[in-house]
Symmetry: C2
Subunit: 358 residues, 2 copies
Amino acid sequence: MDYLKPGDIETLCLGATLLGAGGGGDPYVAKLVAQQALETYGPVRVVDPGELPPDDLVLTTAVIGAPTVILEKLPAGTEYVGSVKALASYLGKEPAAIMSIEVGGLNTLLPIATAAEMGLPIVNADSMRRAFPQIEMTVFTLAGLPAGPLSIADEKGNQCVFKTTDNHVAESLARAAVIQLGLANAISCYPLTAAQIDEHGIHGSLTYCNEVGSLLEAVKRGEEGSWERFLTESGSAEFFRGKVVDLDRRTTGGFARSTVILEDLEGGDSTMRIEVQNENLIAFLDGEAVVTTPNLICLLDCETFEPITTEYLAYGNRVVVIGMPCAPEWHRPGMLELVGPVAFGYDVDFVDLPNQPR
Amino acid sequence: MDYLKPGDIETLCLGATLLGAGGGGDPYVAKLVAQQALETYGPVRVVDPGELPPDDLVLTTAVIGAPTVILEKLPAGTEYVGSVKALASYLGKEPAAIMSIEVGGLNTLLPIATAAEMGLPIVNADSMRRAFPQIEMTVFTLAGLPAGPLSIADEKGNQCVFKTTDNHVAESLARAAVIQLGLANAISCYPLTAAQIDEHGIHGSLTYCNEVGSLLEAVKRGEEGSWERFLTESGSAEFFRGKVVDLDRRTTGGFARSTVILEDLEGGDSTMRIEVQNENLIAFLDGEAVVTTPNLICLLDCETFEPITTEYLAYGNRVVVIGMPCAPEWHRPGMLELVGPVAFGYDVDFVDLPNQPR
């Protein structure tokens, strides 16, 4: 991937939907936005952080809010570049490149559109390689890098800038602001240098996203052995095939939360329960946690193998539940306190996947 | 008042407590802070807005939060100058003077300390000449002047800057932020030029505060005819003498709210009910509204004539309830929608005082 062109977005979008782990916002609209931006402004150069001069400023942009709201509140198109410009203006420095803070869900694709519009390259790295619901949940926090100064912009022209003493305060201030601004806004956070991203970020996130998207495309085309190949090459494992028999959904505290109950599709007695805060966080098989955050829990349609985001999940859906390994960069000191089950209030131990790569 | 010296603060403080209309935060700590700042940094020059070059930037500073919290969370001392500097840095322009946004409660005195520390004059004007609980409740909003860009700072070093499309959004974002930052923080808002303040502000607020403070001092000394003189010269009227028999207090939505019930002190059947959101908003005598916002409802101790702020009010307190006229600058189009009873959700008509000056 040297350059991203409109034709590259479809595969990336499929990978991004999967890496959203049920959250991250359905990327359909972001796909159209990215494709149109690449058509209008031309291809976007993809760079590794090490290719940039070390002191170059890299700015991120993302939607912040609840997927259930993002689904209905379409972007105006001005808020993402707006959030980057607001932060650049506050910092008094222009960005040399744009980066996705989370390669997973629509925040994979929106930064590509922003990079195209601003005529900047996109960095092939991120801080999650999946979606997470809170700002502080990044490998940068593990490295002690600040989320701020950060900016939030809405489509009406309201702008916030926060400079915070720690990344948990950044999350609470940003969340409080987006609750006031309609729960689907643009954020630019973690203003870092190329050298900081090179040292502490997750490398090759866009490449990985494209690879899992491509593997899944083969499955969707029904190619022989493609499902096994997808599982093997992505290090994933299948945990359940079931039908959604109960779905308790609520948008509280600025998040889309739900509990999903699946019954065994083949008529067995087993049930799976999945707890969701924007993203799928823990999968319990007959009461026992079998996949836990930060590993990814992804639901795919049994027949089309299309990844299903939580806001689209419905009673009666027949799904395959897989566990995918998180990026190896997550396995650093502090991981479990920051993004393990305990970080979300669950008294559940982290569970390794059968072939957990580290 | 050409210069404010430590010896001037006591009278100003008494006037400010009265003009707090039950809210504005008890100014005792702010009095000590202001006195010490004037002793340390020297007297502060008092200027009328018309004395300053018209394009000079005037910045304000105030505490924002709930009086019940402000009472217990003492200022660190760095956050007020911090809020001014954060906003000046965002605007890229240094202030020529400091102004109080609300002459009423402790926000009368904190800007004096800030002016002393920054070596700047204080402007003899404000936007309320009483205390109000919400940022948009100023005569500047009536004039269509923006509350932002505004900054919020806490004692730990967290800073927020908001640029908003209207003053109600400014209030909601600022309130959401202070709820996250401990409900007693520093704000700098309404960055205006001297000319804008001269045209749209309330003039002579500090002088007025000093005058009512001085009139009340005479009452407290027990001077013959001083109570009648206080009422006449301030345009106020006495509405009730009663004992607190019920007090329902709750801190919700970032505000200190309460309902106060008073029984007639002389044994009559009448009762007075006062509704409070940080400040006393409406006084009902036997169910009928007799004093309403934006006029001031002030409770004074029956014997000492010390104004009582809502957070100190207690069961059994014996109080005189007076209605004081709001600044004449409030009587402009839009007043009732912005600060009348309806603005606080009460289906009650505004009531003129017996000798309402306009």
